[in-house]
């Protein structure tokens, strides 16, 4: 049967190389001209536990897994069990499993899905230096209709370092796989349209965030490793030096946040990346960046909380702390990417905004956006660049007794000198201060500076970027972050059946945009709010910030179970006359 997209799950025990197989399959699909995504799932073992690669390919860009999987391949019979919840099947799904060495883990749900025993280990043994995962690669490529050529191009690239024998062995295994697959049920995937080299990218959300940061102008990063943010740092650690920038591995998050504040005080756009526990340690000093008006960007790649929670899994529950986690009245920016590729734009824009307003910006990415790898269209480079208002040497404000670092001014943004600039000396301070930066405990100074710090942020012109709005109608879905993907796909399906639904994906969470929001809510009668949180953090934020008209419904659940397009459609079914999918 032919489908517009194909979903494939690959599982195996530790060291069986399912991830390598999955990545190669994804890249091959990309080379062939398909779009695709791949996510990884693994047990608690640091190394050596069961692992699964979940793939989906299509000739349309993808942002979400499908409601169910077409094809499951298990290199070891025992390895499927732990992933059943993540691999919903249909009666017409196919399971290819190497039954050798164990009985197939019985916990698979009851479906009529057809099971086929394929002795991949045995086949691999027959090849000198062969490995079962390369057999699987061939099998899968053949079954989903990828040309052997595209696989071989990937093998060449991936194995050239490993020498000719390794390459030979893999090629041979792939060929074996292709042959073995001939009698397997074939899935006619989406039509294959070749695309010129370089037009498509293979990138993860974490790499995208790193790219957005340096595109925005970030040249100093200090950070302490933490899952699932570490890949952002790993990418920056190798990329920054190329640009004359630097990444410092700090002793802890207290050091990393303060190091970037220090570097930014020195004039370098600076960023740190972390996850919930690290963000919690940084809030005191993010408050310093608010009060001293030193711009920094803090990227939080969210994971399941509370506390250490589930470090490797997705949740959208650092919204509370990002919005309200600072002590005192501390206006700052909070943004969230609305898709994997948007991690580039949103991070880059965050750098621009932080620098323009001399304030901290927290970017809320999440494990799902960050660690998913996708084949996408080459993203455009947007012009947003760090641009900090610096007084010209010799400008009046530098004459006279002292430079007024915290001058109130019209916008609340006061030109900021950089150490080295003569006559611009001042002391940046976390104490409340006068316009000249001298400590003050007077109500008048406190009020004036509180107004300044909040006006500069609420009064800024953010243009259209505060949210992604599309569609029409009086029913609206409001969501954010990684929940946007499944929602978009659900709405695409519903609209294909004539439903009229509007979608609002909020990129700028703080400050609030009352006018923009009321414009967006114009004529809305029904609202569905979708978020991956047990305590409805996003819904409560919307309540506090905005007046939500009409009937409001909240579809929320904690991580790690990702939303499926079909589930969103169910939520909307009675609002648009029955399940249209």
């Amino acid at each position: 049967m032919s489908r517009q997209s194909l979903s494939i799950a690959l599982s195996g025990s530790g060291g069986s190389g399912v991830m390598t197989c999955g990545s190669m399959l994804l890249e091959a699909a990309g080379k062939a001209g398909w779009y695709g995504i791949m996510t990884r799932s693994a047990g608690p073992q640091i190394r050596g536990g069961e692992a699964a690669a979940l793939l989906r390919v299509s000739n349309e860009p993808l942002e979400s897994h499908d409601d169910s999987f077409d094809l499951v391949l298990a290199l070891d019979p025992g390895s499927l069990g732990r992933f059943v919840a993540e691999i919903p099947l249909r009666d017409d799904s196919v399971i290819i499993c190497d039954m050798a060495g164990g009985r197939r883990n019985a916990t698979l749900p009851e479906t009529a899905a057809r099971e086929i025993d394929l002795p991949m280990k045995k086949m691999a043994k027959a090849v000198k230096g062969g490995r079962p995962n390369m057999i699987a690669l061939g099998v899968l490529a053949r079954v989903i209709g990828l040309p052997e050529s595209s696989i071989n191009r990937i093998l060449d690239k991936a194995l050239k370092s490993k020498g000719p024998d390794a390459l030979e062995a893999s090629r041979a295994c792939v060929k074996e796989g292709f042959i073995a697959a001939v009698d397997l049920p074939a899935f006619t995937g989406p039509p294959i349209v070749a695309v010129p080299d370089g037009e498509r990218w293979s990138i993860t959300g974490n790499e995208a965030a790193g790219l957005g940061a340096v595109r925005g102008g970030v040249r100093f990063v200090a950070a302490y490793p933490i899952t699932p943010a570490t890949e952002v740092l790993e990418w920056l650690a190798t990329s920054l030096p190329k640009l004359g920038g630097v990444l410092v591995q700090a002793e802890d998050e207290l050091a990393s946040i303060n190091q970037i504040i220090g570097a930014s005080f020195g004039g370098k756009p600076s960023l740190t990346a972390t996850s919930g526990p690290g963000l919690a340690l940084m809030t005191e000093s993010i408050g310093l960046s608010v009060c001293a008006e030193v711009p920094v960007v803090v990227l939080d790649v969210m994971r399941c909380g509370p506390s250490t929670g589930i470090a490797t899994k997705n949740e959208q529950t650092d919204l509370n702390i990002a919005l309200n986690g600072l002590h005192g009245d501390a206006p700052h920016l909070v943004l969230a990417p609305t898709s994997l590729t948007d991690c580039i734009f949103t991070t880059q824009w965050a750098v621009h905004l932080a620098e323009a307003m001399q304030a901290p910006a927290i970017v809320l990415s999440d494990q799902s956006l960050g660690q998913t790898r996708a084949i996408v269209n080459a993203p455009a480079d947007i012009a947003f660049l760090a641009k900090r208002e610096v007084p010209e040497p010799g400008e009046e404000k530098l004459q006279g007794e002292t430079y007024q670092r915290y001058a109130i001014g019209a916008t609340g943004v006061s030109p900021m000198t950089i150490p080295g600039q003569p006559g611009g000396q001042y002391t940046a301070d976390g104490l409340e201060h006068t316009e000249a930066g001298a400590p003050s405990s007077l109500y008048a100074d406190h009020l004036a500076q509180l107004d300044k710090r909040s006006n500069k942020i609420t009064g800024f012109n953010y243009g259209e970027h505060w949210a992604d709005i599309d569609g029409t109608g009086d029913t609206m879905v409001i969501t954010w972050g990684s929940a946007c993907g499944p929602v978009r796909e659900a709405l695409t399906r519903l609209r294909a059946h004539g439903a009229d639904i509007k979608m609002l994906a909020i990129r700028l969470l703080a400050p609030e945009r009352p006018e923009d929001m009321s414009a967006a809510l114009e004529g809305i009668k029904r609202i569905l709010i979708v978020e991956q949180s047990h305590s409805k953090q996003f819904y409560r934020y919307l309540r506090a910030a905005y007046d939500l008209p009409g009937e409001v419904r909240v579809f929320n659940r904690p991580g790690p179970l990702a939303f499926k397009p079909g589930e969103i459609i169910e939520q909307l079914a009675d609002w648009c006359g029955g399940d249209k999918s």
Binding site: G30, K31, D197, G198, E199, R200, W201, S202, L211, V214, R215, R219, F220, A222, P241, K242, L243, G244, G245, V246, V248, A250, E251, L254, A255, I257, N258, Q259, I260, I261, G262, A263, F265, G266, K268, S270, E284, S285, G287, L288, A292, I375, A378, D381, T402, P419, G420, Q421, P422, G423, G424, Q425, Y426, T427, A428, D429, G430, L431, A438, P439
Partner: protein
């Protein structure tokens, strides 16, 4: 501040901001402020090329009183702020200032790791063996039997923190002790500390006349170290482990290279980074 903007002929007082310190009359920190401005004038560094970085505490108010760039950060994080600034701006003269509580209690971890990292900066700690700003609690350097600490009425009963020994053990490259009672001597030591490459620690015994009035006697008790500074950690360790904390002067001068990643672009067009993502 016209001639403050050129590095020439600057007098010590020109390094003062003119803001009136909040310190109690007689506080040792006044003298340290004097030593610091004397040192800067001695070095004739233009104020705009100096950044004084601190945390929170009486002693941490220092930056406000100088005409240089300054950052009065949060409690305990001065060295992290300073490290970020120095790594990003190697051209600046970065000086961290603060107290024994800010630096060795809440700031202890950054102290350890900044000594290890050894960036080219100077750290002046005004040690008064008490939390002055919060009105008189014991600090890490307080003797175990001091019973006036408001949270430790029967004494802390614990081993005092030995800043110089820890600095040495962690890798600081220059270690000195001064007394605020000797303003010029302290100024000279600060000059040496700034000139010495890497991380320089200058502990200044600076009395808290309000909560530790007995410290006024320090000026009688301190004496110049009987021996020259050594560059041998083992020897320095033996000396520091035995000295009673009242020898002043430069005690250790190491020769470890400072931490300074170089900041030179390897590519001329950022777009080159896109390549790795292209299929």
């Amino acid at each position: 501040m016209t001639n403050a903007t050129t590095g020439t002929g600057l007098k010590a007082r020109e390094y003062k901001s003119g803001i009136k310190p909040v310190w109690c009359p007689g506080c040792g920190d006044f003298t340290v402020l004097g030593s610091l401005t004397k040192a800067l004038s001695g070095l004739q560094i233009a104020p705009e090329n100096v950044a004084i970085i601190s945390g929170i505490g009486c002693s941490s108010r220092m930056p406000t009183y100088l005409s240089t760039y300054g950052f009065h950060g949060v409690h305990g994080r001065a060295l992290a702020l300073a490290t970020g600034l120095k790594v990003a701006r190697p051209d600046l003269t970065v000086i961290a200032t603060g107290g024994d509580g800010d630096g060795f209690s809440i700031g202890g971890n950054h102290f350890l790791h900044t000594c290890r990292r050894n960036p080219d900066m100077t750290y002046i700690v005004m040690d008064n063996q008490v939390y002055g700003m919060t009105k008189g609690q014991a600090s890490p350097t307080t003797e175990p039997n001091w019973e006036k600490g408001k949270l430790t009425p029967s004494g802390t009963g614990i081993n005092p923190f030995q800043p110089l020994v820890i600095a040495l053990a962690s890798g600081a490259n220059f270690i000195a002790r001064c007394s605020s009672s000797d303003q010029n001597g302290t100024a000279r030591t600060i000059v040496e500390a700034i000139r010495h490459p890497g991380f320089s620690l200058v502990q200044v015994l600076s009395p808290c006349v309000t909560f530790r009035p007995e410290q006024r006697d320090w000026k009688k008790l301190v004496q110049p170290a009987p021996v020259e500074a050594t560059s041998d950690p083992a020897r320095a360790a033996r000396r520091l482990l035995t000295d009673k904390g009242l020898f002043t002067g430069v005690l250790f001068k190491g020769n470890r290279p400072p931490y300074q990643p170089l900041l030179e672009p390897g590519i001329d067009n950022i777009a080159e980074l896109d390549e790795e993502f292209r299929l």
